[in-house]
Amino acid sequence: MKYRSVFDIIGPVMIGPSSSHTAGAARIGLVARQLFQKEPSWVSFHLYGSFAKTYQGHGTDVALVGGVLGFETFDTRITESMKIAKERGLNYSFHEEEAQLDHPNTVKIRMGDDHQEMELVGVSIGGGKVEIKELNGFELRLSGNHPAILVVHNDRFGAIASVSTILAKHQINIGHMQVSRKEVGKEALMVIEVDQNIGPDILQEVEALDHVEKVTKIHE
C-alpha cells in the first residue's frame, strides 16, 4: 500500500498551489538536500511528463529550489526561494525533458559543489507523497515518510548482517530494507527505513564497521 496514514490523505499542511507539483516537489528537493548533507553550490533539475509541461504554473520550480534550500512544504519562505537562492549563491537551472517515464511527475536532480556530486530521481505520486527511485545510479524505493538511513558499503558477505545487528542492539525496528549493487563485489547500497529515530552514536557505530564506507541519515 502506497498510502499508509490518514495524514497522507488529510494533509500535508502546505503552501499552495499543488500537492503533487508544489508540496511533492519541495519534498523531493528536501530529500536530495538531506542526502547531500549540505547546501550544494549548483543544482540542475531535469523535468519529465506533467512536471516538464506545467512546472512554472504550479510553482514546481520554486518548490524544488525551496526544498534544496532545506525548506519544508509548509515553510512560507518557499514563495521566496528563488530570491533566497540568489542571496545564498545557489546556482540553479531547469531542463524540460522529452522522454516518457513510468510516472508523469518525475524529476532528476543533479547537485554538487567543488568536492562532490550527486544524482537523484524522485517521483511525486500525488497528495504530496513522494518516492525516490534512484540515487547515483542505484535503483531504490524510498517513501520519505519514515526515518531512514543509507549505507554505502562493499558488496561482501556479512555486511548486511553486521548493520542489522547494530540496529537490533539499539532496539531499532526495521520497517523496510533494500539492498542494491551495480556489480558483484563492488560498491553497494543499503536503504533502511526504521520506526525510531537513529541517533548520531548509532550512525558512527555503523560507519565504523568493516566494509561500510558511508552512512547518511535521510529523514528524522
Binding site: M1, I10, P17, S18, G57, G127
Partner: protein
Amino acid sequence: MMFRNVQELVSLAEKEGIPISEIMIRQEMEYHERTREEIFAQMERNLNVMEKAVERGITEDVKSVSGLTGGDGKKLFEYMQSKETLAGNQLLEAVAKAMATNEVNAAMGTICATPTAGSAGVVPGVLFSTKNKLNPTREQMIRFLFTSGAFGFVVANNASISGAAGGCQAEVGSATGMAAAALVEMAGGTPKQCAEAMAMALKGMLGLVCDPVAGLVEVPCVKRNAFGSSNAIVAADLALAGIESRIPCDEVIDAMYRIGEAMPSAFKETAEGGLAATPTGRKYQEQIFGASVKKV
C-alpha cells in the same frame, strides 16, 4: 492494515458497532503506534489550518499571482448575506467556503491538502457549512476529517488521487466522495449510508478531466471545487433518504481508476486539452507566460 476496501471498512464498523471515523483512528493508533491524543492533536492542527484558509478566503481580497482567480468565494458569501438565494444558504455556504479555500491555495497561501491541494476546497467547504444545520462539536469536526480520510485512504491505495495519473475525477471526484461520506456520519447516518454517499458522489464525477488553463491550479479548479462541495451535500442527502447506489462503492472506485488509465494524457494535468486548449485558455497561457513557453 485493518481494511483494504470500502466493504471491509463498513463491515468492520458494523461488526464493532462504531462509526467509520473510529475505525480510521484505531488503525492510525495501531499501525503507527501513536496515542489517540497525538492523533487527535495532529488532526486538530489540520482543522485549524483549514479554518484559517476559509476565513481568509471569505473576508480578504485574495488574488493569485497570475490574476486568474480570487475573490469569488467572498463575492458569493456576501451575496448570501444580502439576497434571497435560490439554492439555499447551507449549500451555498459550502460552495463559498470551498472556493475560498482554493483561492487561498492559488494565491500560494497555507492550506491542508484534502486529499490534494487542487481539491483542498471540497472537504473544508462542506465541513464548515454544517455549523447552523448540525451545530457540530469540535470533536465531531475532527471526526469528520477522519471519516473523509478513511474513504480517501481506500481511493488512494486502490485507484488514484492524482490528477496527473487519473484526471480531476481522482482529485475533486475523490474529495467529493470523501466529504459526502463524512457528512452522512456527522448527520447520524450509518456506515453503510456513508459508503452509499461516497459511491453516488463519485459516480457523479466519473470521467472528469484535469485540464488546467496555463497549467495553473486555478481555472477550472476553483469552480470544480464549488460543484464538488454541492454534489457532496446532495449525495449525503440521497444516502440519508435511504437511496442506494446500484454499483457498490468499491466497484465505482475501480471504475474511476480504469477510466483514469484510459484517459489520454492531454486530459491529465498537462494543460494540453479541454479548457486549457480553448482559444481563451491559450490566450491566458500566453498572457501569463509569454509565447515562448508555448508547447504542444
